[in-house]
Symmetry: C2
Subunit: 225 residues, 2 copies
């Protein structure tokens, strides 16, 4: 396989000054693996000694809660997967599953750590990422629990449209019951609320193809709760 690590790393190059020898070090210790839609990339409870980087595609991060599986967030490439689970413990604390065909780069943990120590920029980049995602987690949790259905579903649709696909039209990569697991409700409620949105002319839907018609209204719903 061609060494695609420079590509991988170029994502970081914009913000991080990475020396060629460090790139080589990365290049020498990585494996790229393809995952199909629905394949498990990281499994909660399993021992792991790799840092995982999502090169292409999209994945859901989920954790098994007291009664059901909870989707914590959806991420798109390029991004590291499971940094917190990698550093805190050798045992994965959550699962990651691809939701569309994806490519993942597995990097040896020791090499990664050495890099962190050697390259100050890289270290603070990772630190920042962790901080951002922790803050994000707090905000989302507060949002989820305080808003009700319509607000939460609006958030999900906006998240797809604005962050994940950056388009007003997209194909939902999740089933309705997954969305339910994301916003803490049953699939039935999701289904009903989607129907309401269609009725109200906020979105159009055919199968999993979704088109956002009235984004302003969606934002209103997201805000007022």
């Amino acid at each position: 396989m061609k060494n695609e690590c420079a590509d991988c790393a170029c994502v970081l190059r914009s913000s991080v000054n990475m020396k060629d020898c460090q790139l080589e070090m990365l290049g020498g210790s990585h494996v790229v693996v393809k995952f199909k839609k629905g394949d498990s990339i990281i499994k909660q409870g399993v021992f792991s000694t790799n840092v995982t980087f999502l090169r292409k595609g999209m994945a859901k991060i989920h954790i098994s809660g007291p009664s059901r599986e909870q989707i914590v967030k959806l991420v798109k490439a390029p991004t590291y997967l499971g940094l917190p689970t990698t550093f805190g413990d050798k045992i994965n604390q959550y699962s990651v599953t691809s939701v569309i065909d994806s490519e993942v780069c597995f990097i040896d943990l020791e090499v990664f750590k050495r890099l962190l120590g050697e390259n100050k920029d890289f270290g603070s980049y990772i630190l920042m990422e962790l901080c951002k995602s922790e803050m994000e987690a707090y905000r989302r949790c507060a949002s989820r629990t305080q808003k009700q259905m319509r607000g939460n579903l609006a958030d999900v649709l906006l998240e797809f449209s604005e962050n994940l696909f950056e388009a007003d039209q997209f194909i939902l990569p999740l089933s309705q019951s997954d969305i339910g697991n994301w916003v803490d409700t049953g699939r039935e409620s999701i289904n009903r609320t989607l129907s309401e949105f269609i009725q109200d002319g906020i979105i159009e839907m055919q199968g999993r193809q979704i088109k956002i018609i009235d984004k302003k209204m969606l934002k209103m719903i997201s805000q007022n709760g």
Copy 2:
């Protein structure tokens, strides 16, 4: 004021190898401030250039959600406060308020950053802390949203008993409405559920003095949800 930084830092010494010169650097750039119960230590939305370390006491971390204030977690000394908010952005992303009389050490951000770069142990210690608290946030959020009242309140009581005070008897540092803001419900529900627990002989209560009688039952309630 006597330079108490060696004390402060000794917390880290167990896990981190900190050189004396580095300790001195810290010592030269810190200010210790006392806070009374209820005082605001960090205010969401305010500009900040300090790293904040809780030397003594206990504090609540809270964030303003869409409709009300959400308590994210309670922490006790010794611990850093607001690392994620300090690094991600110069503007505080959440608030921290002392819930009992406390002492806080303000450290210059630049000095802290230099230290991070110089001392690899320290850097990875901080990294780990961030990872742990992110994982904790995920777990808690899933728990909160999936359990109902009794389960959540049981969790809160156990958190006080096992982690914060490490005793079966303690004085609640939060009002019932604060607890409501913590577990996403109104003060009325908290009140009623506390009464139930008393009725069931699980706890005793006089004013804010709480005594846990049947911890086993409390854990049962916490688990089954």
